[in-house]
């Protein structure tokens, strides 16, 4: 253990001997943790390592089974989020906390300082608007309903909402997971400024380069215990991964298998347009190919993916599946054997799973509607469950009680049971721990090697570079660049995402 900086005055937050038990499960076990003012402290660990529990204790959502929390050296009892807020502890949780049916303004004013019963103070909004303007969120209208915002826009509002509470300690739990690279950079500028003003920041992210860019110190958690705390740069990526996982992971991404250039074309979409928002998109995916869809958020790539699965009405253009011209009008049609598409939606909690039902019931839901499959046959799911190493306490366990990574495994297994010839994935690794990511990458590679055509939408360009044979970058509803082989670099993806130098790049591809 690294000695804490003893020359500092009282740390802002000190946790001593903290344990949190849920029944027989020890989510946290005797953890000591210190966070100083004016530092960005990253907390790393796999899902289930205890990070979220730790944050919830600090935010007053949960109370420790044993141990003591001190603020400015004084022991406090945080029995509610309100109590935590009164000490200046503000948390922006990974699960979005906005009320969908209220407007942005109303959401911001909920829980704003001085709100409560009485007048709503609109001057508090000035700070939030200022924050939004700085993180490229100016286009978000105060009167817009949150339900009508895109996921990245909601995260921007969340950030503004947290900032306007003027925190002394700000917890960012996967706060930027849905944001594009340039917005993330703006958010980081803002966070650094807050840090320089003496705010302590606890930062949780699964994107390692973000942690490296932002954090001053890093604490690694594993199995409910703090493994080590060190200054950023003291350990390299591999060492940190080993610390988190407790075993060596040689490489995150599997080796690329060169795709057969003349393999059968599984999915061929030409001149796809919809509602003026998508224009003239062409996509061709061969057997065994992984094709990436990239770009900043909300440039039409998620729309396009939904359109492929039959979710957009009155789309124009032609679609051919294995050479057969087809019109896909609904998910029900898309999953039938003749077409055999599968779609892993962006938001696994509300679109991919039925949280109140058990694993087994969720697994069966897609297969039931296929006449050629027996949905109750466990053999349908066994292979992918084993390959994904799904951790569970029986297939009756409600999926709500699984970690994010395990939930995504259930969504994958549910669709892989249908043996899709083409798999459409919308950002499947968002907010998921490194180990699960690796497993998902490996299974995608393996599926591709077995002949599945894969379309992977991702906000993480490492994935687009390391996993995909070809990546189409979207800008304003169009594909502005198609990058392959040597052109598939971070610089090119970023430049194309911002639609810089589009012409020469398109000529390349």
């Amino acid at each position: 253990m690294v000695a804490q900086m003893s020359d500092m005055k009282n740390p802002l937050l000190e946790m001593r001997g903290i344990s949190k038990h849920f029944g027989a499960t020890k989510a946290l076990d005797g953890v000591d943790f210190v966070c100083n003012p004016g530092e960005v402290h990253a907390v790393l660990g796999e899902n289930g390592a205890g990070k979220s529990t730790l944050m919830k204790l600090i935010a007053g959502v949960l109370q420790p089974t044993h141990g003591q929390i001190c603020i400015d050296g004084k022991a406090v009892f945080l029995n509610s989020p309100k109590a935590a807020l009164s000490h200046g502890l503000v948390c922006m949780f990974q699960e979005l906390s906005l009320v969908p049916d209220l407007t942005v303004r109303e959401n911001l004013l909920l829980g704003a300082p001085g709100a409560g019963i009485g007048w709503l103070r609109s001057e508090a909004l000035a700070k939030a608007q200022d924050v939004l303007a700085r993180i490229e969120g100016k286009s978000i209208k105060m009167g817009a309903r949150v339900a009508d915002l895109t996921l990245p826009q909601r995260q921007q509002v969340e950030i503004a909402k947290a900032m306007m509470k003027r925190p002394r300690l700000l917890i960012l739990d996967e706060a930027t997971s849905a944001l594009g690279a340039s917005v993330v950079e703006r958010v980081f500028d803002l966070v650094r400024e807050e840090r320089d003003n003496g705010t302590a920041i606890l930062f949780i992210s699964h994107r390692f380069h973000e942690v490296e860019a932002l954090a001053d110190r890093i604490s690694v958690f594993r199995n409910g215990q703090r493994v080590e705390t060190f200054m950023t740069g003291d350990h390299d990526y591999t060492e940190i991964i080993n610390m988190m996982v407790g075993q060596k992971i040689e490489e995150l991404f599997p080796a690329k298998t060169p795709a057969q250039p003349d393999a059968e074309i599984v999915l061929d979409v030409q001149n796809y347009s919809w509602d003026g928002r998508l224009r003239d998109i062409n996509l061709r995916v061969r057997r065994g190919q992984i094709v990436g869809l990239g770009g900043l958020d909300g440039q039409g790539q998620s729309m396009f993916l939904m359109g492929l699965f039959g979710l957009l009405r009155q789309a124009e253009g032609t679609t051919a599946i294995a050479g057969q011209p087809t019109r896909i009008g609904s998910p029900k049609q898309a999953k039938q054997q003749a077409i055999a598409l599968a779609y892993i939606p962006e938001d696994r909690k509300t679109e991919g799973l039925i949280l109140d039902q058990g694993i087994q019931e969720n697994l069966e839901l897609a297969a039931i509607g296929r006449a050629d499959l027996d949905a109750t046959d466990p053999a349908l799911y066994a292979a992918s469950l084993e390959q994904l190493a799904l951790k569970h306490g029986g297939l009756d366990q409600p999926v709500a009680s699984l970690s994010g990574g395990n939930q995504q495994k259930v969504v994958l297994a549910k669709w892989l049971a249908l043996k899709p010839r083409c798999l459409l994935l919308a950002d499947p690794t968002r907010g998921i721990d490194v180990k699960t990511k690796t497993q998902i990458y490996a299974i995608l590679r393996q599926l591709a090697d077995q002949g599945t055509a894969i379309v992977l939408l991702s906000t993480d360009y490492e994935e687009l570079i390391q996993l995909c044979d070809e990546t189409h970058v979207f800008f304003d509803g169009q594909v502005v660049a198609s990058l392959a082989d040597g052109d598939l670099t971070a610089e090119n993806i970023i430049a194309a995402s911002l639609n810089l130098d589009a012409k020469s790049r398109a000529a390349h591809a």
Partner: protein, 314 residues
């Protein structure tokens, strides 16, 4: 099947036992076979409605058009019998069921295609049916009578058990099989929990909604036919007193009003409990005002108990 036997769904049965034991202290005749079989017969009328309502509530919706589907079916069937034409008399019951299914499909169109909240749409349909019935009869009690079949269904008995009760239980067994053993049942619950995820799993959710509302409509219509057979006539507003007890029976039976969770076993208990409670309160000759207050309080207590218990385990 054992999963259906949650503590929530057993609650109304405990309630029934308590009511019988408690009631027998004041009125020993509560324990008589006559009294109990009569309760089973009456409970069946409410039971048909609650069975249909369970299907819709599992879907995460609600059907407020129960009263006038019931009344409409009763008016239609008695009017057909009242013509004296043997053919029309014979089709009286099927015609009423078709009527219920059609109104159910109209409900389904509003909810699944036009995406209007079921609470609003079915209330509007209920009101339109009321208007149609009044137009049709000129506001007077409709003429007509019940057929022999309808009377037997409502008041006959086989081996000492009321026919109405036997039909109800048979219907519940068939529906329970559908709900637990067929894709339709799986889809119904899944939609109740999360319609979007179900649709994205490649399920034609509108057809499930149509089917559920059609089943509910037929159940309500069957209840109407039974009541008409029982009273040997149809009358305006005969369904009005049934709406709230129907929903109460479903919810007391442990089915979540938010959809997804619950089942018919609990609903049977709920309908029995509410029927018995109403009967015992009226046998005790408590005045109407107090009867309503006690009725409401007991239902609240039962629901409160369920909520508290969930709070413990969550």
């Amino acid at each position: 099947m054992l999963r259906g036997l949650s503590l929530d769904s057993l609650m109304p049965y405990f309630g029934v036992v308590l009511l019988i034991i408690g009631g027998s202290f004041f009125f020993p005749q509560v324990l008589s076979a006559d009294y109990l079989t009569q309760q089973l017969q009456i409970a069946a009328f409410l039971g048909f409605l609650a069975t249909g309502a369970t299907v819709v509530i599992l879907l995460g919706h609600i059907d407020l058009s129960v009263p006038w589907i019931l009344t409409g079916a009763a008016i239609l069937s008695t009017a057909l019998v009242g013509t004296g034409n043997p053919f029309l008399s014979a089709i009286a019951v099927p015609a009423a069921l078709v009527f219920g299914a059609l109104i159910g499909i109209v409900n389904g169109i509003g909810v699944a295609i036009l995406r209007i909240p079921s609470m609003v749409w079915t209330l509007a349909v209920n009101s339109m049916l009321l208007g149609l019935a009044v137009l049709n009869t000129g506001g007077f009690n409709p003429k007509g009578e019940a057929s022999a079949l309808m009377k037997t269904m409502a008041s006959g008995d086989i081996l000492g058990l009321p026919v109405s009760f036997l039909i109800w239980i048979a219907l519940c067994i068939v529906l329970a099989w559908f709900l637990t053993r067929t894709p339709f049942g799986r889809y119904l619950r899944s939609i109740g929990f999360n319609e979007k995820a179900t649709f994205l799993s490649g399920v034609s959710t509108p057809s499930v909604v149509f089917a559920a509302f059609a089943i509910a409509g037929m159940c309500s219509a069957l209840g109407g036919v039974m009541l008409a057979g029982y009273a040997n006539q149809a009358y305006q507003s005969m369904g009005d007193p049934f709406l709230l007890p129907t929903i109460a029976a479903v919810v007391i039976g442990g089915t979540s009003i938010l959809g997804g969770r619950g089942g018919l076993f609990g609903t049977i208990g709920g309908a029995l409990f509410i029927t018995l409670l109403t009967s015992i309160l009226s046998v005790m000759q408590i005045e109407d005002a107090w009867r309503n207050i006690i009725f409401g309080t007991i239902i609240l207590v039962m629901l409160l108990f369920q909520t508290l218990r969930k709070g413990d385990t969550a």
